[in-house]
Symmetry: C2
Subunit: 139 residues, 2 copies
């Protein structure tokens, strides 16, 4: 019964997304803006051009996301030292704290999600996901 498993997988995806959005909203963030912060947290200051390429999104869209993050104090636009056309999107102290809080929240959510699943089952589940991810990437 692949349909049964499929429906359940979709439901998990929906609930998980809602849960993550709730957590972000509590920090004053949206999913798209949070993704920008995560990139900056992992790679340091980035040009908008680089953010657009990484998130696979239009340059216009990045302008809006950075506008929002700047207005709420998570990032600043700094001049690029070598290219006066470019800006370097840079985390503020608040932005850095948010990145850390998101990572902590993720670990906490992970522990809560898999609570009560025996280590063997967890390992089997992870291996199964690899198969599914492989199938999805082929399609």
């Amino acid at each position: 019964m692949t349909i049964e498993a499929f429906e359940r997988t979709l439901e998990l995806a929906v609930l998980l997304r809602e849960e993550m959005e709730r957590r972000l909203a509590a920090d004053g963030l949206t999913p798209a803006r949070a993704q920008v912060l995560r990139e900056l947290g992992g790679r340091g200051p980035l040009q908008q051009r680089e953010l657009a390429a990484t998130l696979e999104v239009s340059a216009r869209n990045i302008t809006g996301l950075v506008d929002g993050l700047a207005a709420t104090g998570f990032v600043t636009r700094e001049p690029h030292p070598d290219d006066r056309r470019a800006t370097l999107v840079t985390l503020t102290a608040r932005g850095t704290a948010a990145v850390r809080a998101m990572a902590d929240g993720r670990a906490e959510a992970a522990a809560a999600l898999f609570a009560g699943l025996a280590p063997q089952r967890l390992a089997a589940y992870t291996a199964d996901l690899d198969v599914l991810l492989g199938n999805l990437r082929k399609a």
Copy 2:
């Protein structure tokens, strides 16, 4: 390593959502509009009020979704026989065909997703998801 399993689960959720959206877009539908069609397909004509309650979304939002579906020929607004305030959102022939196509597409996507997973693994995976769903609903 719950984090590992968690990240993989999130990635599956994202890829699955993208895949489903691609399929819907090919039929000229968006996820929110498709959800309206699915409800109508399963339950017959519904008042907008009922759709709002089912999708857990504002009445204003339903107005917009039904506007879009009506403009693209998937549904019509029929007068409610007993209540002149209400409208009955009703599938057209095109809407009915889209519901059927979506169900077929879902079965096909399910088969493709779980290809290569032995029946025992599939059953174990489904059981594991039950645990995860239970944990999520508690939170």
